[in-house]
Amino acid sequence: MTTVTVKPATLAQALTRAMRDAMADDPAVHVLGEDVGTLGGVFRVTDGLAKEFGQDRCTDTPLAEAGILGTAVGMAMYGLRPVVEMQFDAFAYPAFEQLVSHVSRMRNRTRGRMPLPITVRIPYGGGIGGVEHHSDSSEAYYMATPGLHVVTPATVADAYGLLRRSIASDDPVVFLEPKRLYWSKDAWNPEQPTEVAPLGRAVVRRPGTSATLITYGPSLPVCLEAAEAARAEGWDLEVVDLRSLVPFDDETVCAAVRRTGRAVVVHESTGFGGPGGEIAARITERCFHHLEAPVLRVAGFDIPYPPPMLERHHLPGVDRILDAVARLQWEAGS
């Protein structure tokens, strides 16, 4: 019997490994983007791919996001499976036209005759001290576009598993990488990437009885920390990691909310018009009779993402989550 070593790996390394394995398994998988080849990406997530597979499979493109995604559309039309890297959240906006007008609706407009298996990897979110345009949470824009999957891992194992699933998907996936978790480590065995969750399945990261925190991506560790801190107050919090915003796992989320009767949605994207509104509405529609309190949201403020020196005031932290949890002791008429 062979013993497998389970070594700590970073989330970024798991993503690299996922692309590497996908490229090795399927010659149709191509990686393209700014600086992905020689440099290995500004976050080094594509490190080594050009060396192993050559610049034709891992290509440094000209600096043009609309061009990168637009050419990926054509590549996918001809049978390739492009994995596109956008360098930072806010620099994906020039490609928005391609994403919304073509990538998301090609299957639909061709009555299923031309699916586009494209994975668009976008580092997103704040908390790394980035200057303007380096910290946006743009998931709500993508969620609002039918035809796109929107996926965001929060653990090393999920980074690997969900990216493999995304690349294998015959539909386009916006794969949002929480950049402040790139360097977070878990013990992980790359030889046996455990069960690879299918897209669209949420997971209970921590069971609890008093209330359910519903979160994803960069806010997961914050919620787990809040759940630990809440124990001192006598609260036993459940934490659900969505992993996939589209498709949305109503089943797991509603089962969790029914168990506890109370829910708080936590994310760093803006609250107004943000993902939390949709999630809260779905819970209310499906679990109304089980709810002991309104579904609350803890989100970023409704402001342009602040400069690094002020971002800690904007990002939902443990205290703001606990404050919301305290408000769940809601009484009718209060």
Binding site: E34, D35, G37, T38, L39, G40, V42, D60, P62, L63, A64, E65, A66, G67, A90, F91, Y93, P94, G129, G130, V131, E132, H133, H134, G271, F272, L296, R297, V298, A299, F301, D302, I303, P304, P306, P307, P308, M309, L310, H313, H314, D319, R320, D323, A324, A326, R327
Partner: protein, 391 residues
């Protein structure tokens, strides 16, 4: 008869002011970058101008080394050094009149301070206390733009508006070689040419877009060649030759001001430092290449010219260095104080008048900050926190 066979269909009879270009030759750039320093035309350059450029170049170099040092001390979140590119930025900025506008990219802090912006305010974005530290209208300098090439259409619009109003204002729009691949670059140049807007586009071709060399960015003979297809002249200049940059930009600005329309200038230069302090340039380029460009240093080129012509001696060089040192000391001293951005300001400028939602969020943050200041009260006791927190 097909549509194309109709008389005048391919080339509709133009309005009187509009002349279609029939001969692209006058628009084509020279094969070699234009140079002044070390050539005969140097003798015809105003010594006063050369000395002014020199003083600014020495300051610019010192600004870059000081700002880079400040990143190491954690005083700046990031700094994209323009060491090696001082002549482009300063030569260009000094070609503008006070009433003109500058549209800089994130690396163009030297051009920004050459317009009179306080060196500390030019670093606000990169320090991270606010997104833009200066008043764009006061200096006629747009905020440093991080999304590449997106500021170029703004420059075209502003210049067009100025002309509509009858003002003889010119806009200078700066972009990197990588930025020329973006769709916004194309749209800006096309609008500018069609509208004959008084804009000058300056491409600083410093060899790389982060790790990607020019050869992977374009297949054109030069970036200046791109001008021809839009119907505007393209000029190629040695970006390390401050006198040449100043002269070419000066001509383009005068041409635009006189109603001649836009020009695209490519300044050929080199980024001697890494992309930013966070970048590892050894991954994508050889030391020998960097060394070759160091031998063509913009500050030394001008220094050599000035000393050869007897316009500068050891004392003059020493004086320029001292002046730069004074600037650096002041920068260091002022940047070494902890800035105290007010968290409440997060809500001050989202709209002219705050929304009810933002007023609520403002109250929440105020309560949190007060609770932080007086930990005895505890967040639970703040009524504002409770009400404001309903989000």
């Amino acid at each position: 008869m097909t549509v194309l066979e109709q008389r005048g269909a391919y080339r509709p009879s133009p309005p009187p002011a509009w002349q279609p270009r029939t001969d692209p030759a006058p628009l084509l750039p020279d094969a070699e970058p234009y140079r002044v320093l070390g050539t005969e035309s140097a003798a015809g350059t105003d010594p006063g101008l050369l000395l002014r450029l020199y003083a600014q170049l020495v300051r610019g170099r010192r600004y870059n080394t000081q700002a880079t040092a400040l990143t190491k001390q954690g005083r700046l979140a990031v700094y994209p050094s323009s060491t090696g590119q001082e002549a482009c930025q300063i030569g260009a900025a000094l070609a503008l009149e006070e009433r003109d506008w500058l549209f800089p990219s994130y690396r163009d802090t030297l051009a920004v301070i050459a317009r009179g912006v306080d060196p500390v305010e030019a670093l606000t974005l990169l320090r991270g206390d606010w997104h833009s530290g200066y008043d764009p209208c006061a200096h006629r300098v747009a905020p440093l733009s991080t999304p590449l090439a997106t500021q170029l259409p703004h420059a075209v619009g502003l210049a067009h508006a100025a002309r509509l109003k009858g003002d003889d204002v010119v806009a200078l729009a700066m972009v990197g070689d990588g930025g020329t691949s973006e769709g916004d670059f194309h749209e800006a140049l096309n609008f500018a040419a069609v509208w004959q807007a008084p804009v000058v586009f300056l491409v600083q071709n410093n060899g790389f877009a982060i790790s990607v060399p020019l050869a992977k960015q374009t297949a054109a003979p030069s970036l200046a060649h791109k001008a021809v297809g839009y119907g505007m002249p393209g000029r190629l200049v040695d970006g390390n030759d401050a006198a040449a940059v100043h002269q070419v930009l000066g001509e383009a600005v005068r041409h635009a001001r006189a109603g001649g329309g836009p020009t695209l200038v490519e300044a050929v230069t080199y980024r001697l430092d890494a992309h930013t302090n966070a970048d590892d340039a050894t991954r994508y380029r050889e030391d020998a290449e960097v060394a070759a460009w160091r031998a063509h240093d913009p500050v030394e080129l001008l220094e050599r010219e000035l000393t050869a012509r007897g316009l500068l001696d050891e004392a003059g060089i020493e004086a320029a260095r001292k002046d730069a040192e004074t600037m650096a000391a002041s920068l260091r001293e002022r940047m070494n104080r902890d800035p105290e951005p007010d968290p409440m300001a997060l809500f001050d400028h989202v709209y002219a008048e705050n929304t009810a939602q933002l007023r609520e969020q403002r109250a929440l943050l105020r309560a949190e900050l007060e609770a932080e200041r007086e930990p005895s009260g505890g967040p639970g006791e703040e009524p504002g926190a409770r009400e404001g927190g309903a989000r």
